[in-house]
Symmetry: none
Subunit: 182 residues, 4 copies
């Protein structure tokens, strides 16, 4: 039980942390409400089901993650620098979040084809990420744009796997080379 505040926000915060750390199915509603310090029925006041809470979590994560990305890349002077800054953002997140990887890819392996809404958010998140690179690299070839995206994705996944920054650092170097020879 925690301090009093906006219950809906506390529930979302608790769910965000737990779903991300432990996964969706491994996290029980009881754990969420205890962490949030909120009564069980209050959860169902604000979210009609556990799945609704999942969707809220994904949406919220989507927004904060991109807000962080834009903040982290804002200062970079050129598109190429911005791209590299995105990799630095990844390293920062790894440190902050103890190498839990990508919340969306993690969820992808837990949801079935039935949960269309969750899948839609996951896909739209990644589409927005691809757009981010495509727009920055609009002068480069589509092949290079996709190449950068794919390296970014493996950078997240592999650093989660090895609990180490090397995949991000290696991928960053590869991107640097890729953009240099353009």
């Amino acid at each position: 039980m925690k301090q009093k505040a906006e219950p809906k926000q506390r529930l979302l915060d608790a769910a965000t942390e737990l779903f991300f750390k432990q996964g969706y199915h491994a996290t029980g509603i009881n754990q969420v409400i205890e962490e949030a310090g909120v009564a069980k029925a209050s959860l169902y006041m604000h979210y009609p089901s556990k799945e609704a809470l999942l969707l809220a979590f994904l949406q919220h994560r989507h927004e904060t993650w991109f807000a962080g990305l834009h903040a982290a890349t804002a200062k970079a002077k050129s598109p190429g620098k911005k791209v590299l800054a995105a990799f630095d953002y990844l390293q920062q997140k790894n440190v902050e979040e103890d190498f839990r990887g990508c919340a969306f890819l993690n969820m992808l392996s837990e949801v079935s084809d039935k949960e269309k809404e969750a899948l839609a958010i996951i896909r739209s998140h990644k589409n927005e990420l691809r757009s981010f690179f495509t727009q920055l690299l609009h002068e480069a070839s589509p092949a290079v744009q996709t190449h950068v995206y794919l390296l970014f994705e493996s950078a997240i996944v592999e650093s989660q796997l090895y609990r180490d920054q090397w995949p991000v650092q290696e991928a960053r170097k590869m991107v640097e080379r890729l953009l240099g020879q353009k």
Copy 2:
């Protein structure tokens, strides 16, 4: 309920299918034994716990996946061709398994740091995959070896995400270019 055969094998088969399709936590012990056509206590005869079944699943998947990889790459005449054949193997698996992606990366997002044994199998699977590429490309630079590995990984993950072969095909082309300029 299915036909009579080796119960232990049938349990492993059922678990393999269900854990891979639905995830570990989303799959109940009851579903496994029903699919296997085996009594509940029989499961615990052969596997002391659900987690033990998980480990057996991962181990089994590891072996069959690599057996498939070696079979699929055996006919290729050169190391470069073998690498490309690995990407073709990916496409084949996507079709066979309806784009369920990598069983090991999927499990990675469900297990916590506590489940050391599962993590160990997951990591050793990926290490063996890295070795596969490193050995084939022993004449190339370590950077290229890693680059191919990273593209291979995103190829799996992204084709699961989009339920489409394009990420494998694109990654394959990039690898082709990478190896061509060597």
Copy 3:
């Protein structure tokens, strides 16, 4: 949610419909307030508890049912005709209310001996019905009066059971014969 009007009346209307259709325990407070288009706390403003709402429902039903009975029997010229008109009233109610039977007997099977007030309303409703027949048939023997009452009661119950008018029609014929031989 419905149009604005007297909240207290709307609550009673909603409860009347739902308690009668689904039963008391099968009807939740949330369903009542949603049907009534009223806030939850407003319900507890007007009725201190769910049981109070039940009592109001029974009382209201008692009044409207007898109002209908008196209206339906008013035009009949003789006591005997009035008695028969009561059976016609039953048929009319069956049509209007889709053979839901007697709200009071239905509730009788849901309330325990503890809910004295509800029981009291139920019994007083039936006592008034007996009086209705007794007064109309004051020239007949007590045995006949009771006989008519009992046939009336089974007519309601059995038409609910079979969802058919035949029990009312048969009972009506028996009463006709009973009164004819007087």
Copy 4:
């Protein structure tokens, strides 16, 4: 918690008592298992749902009730005496079961049209009761057969309502007269 015995039977016994005494919706699964002295999951081993338990209860009650009826009427020498003995059976049940009335009519007011199976058992119980009278009175007119049935039904219902034997006794007298004049 009670003594060890066949759990399935104990569950049915507990459900029989509680559903009959309190009604279906007013009885929780927790109460049933506590009364039966059985674990929750054991209930769901034997009965897949609460509704399945309800059906078992109705079926069981149907069988025991008719077994009692046949036993109670067996000794009577003539069909007419058997019919009257049925009314005596009712009085006996009222004493034994504290005027809880008819389990089937009570349930009728709790189940909705959706629960087809429960409705089917209820109706078949009453059809069998009608058959019982029809066969005994096969020499009488259909009108008399139905008349007896209807009086029998009100006898149960009204004695439950008033918690008194008079409705059974009155109905019995009416039937006596009815059969006497035949």
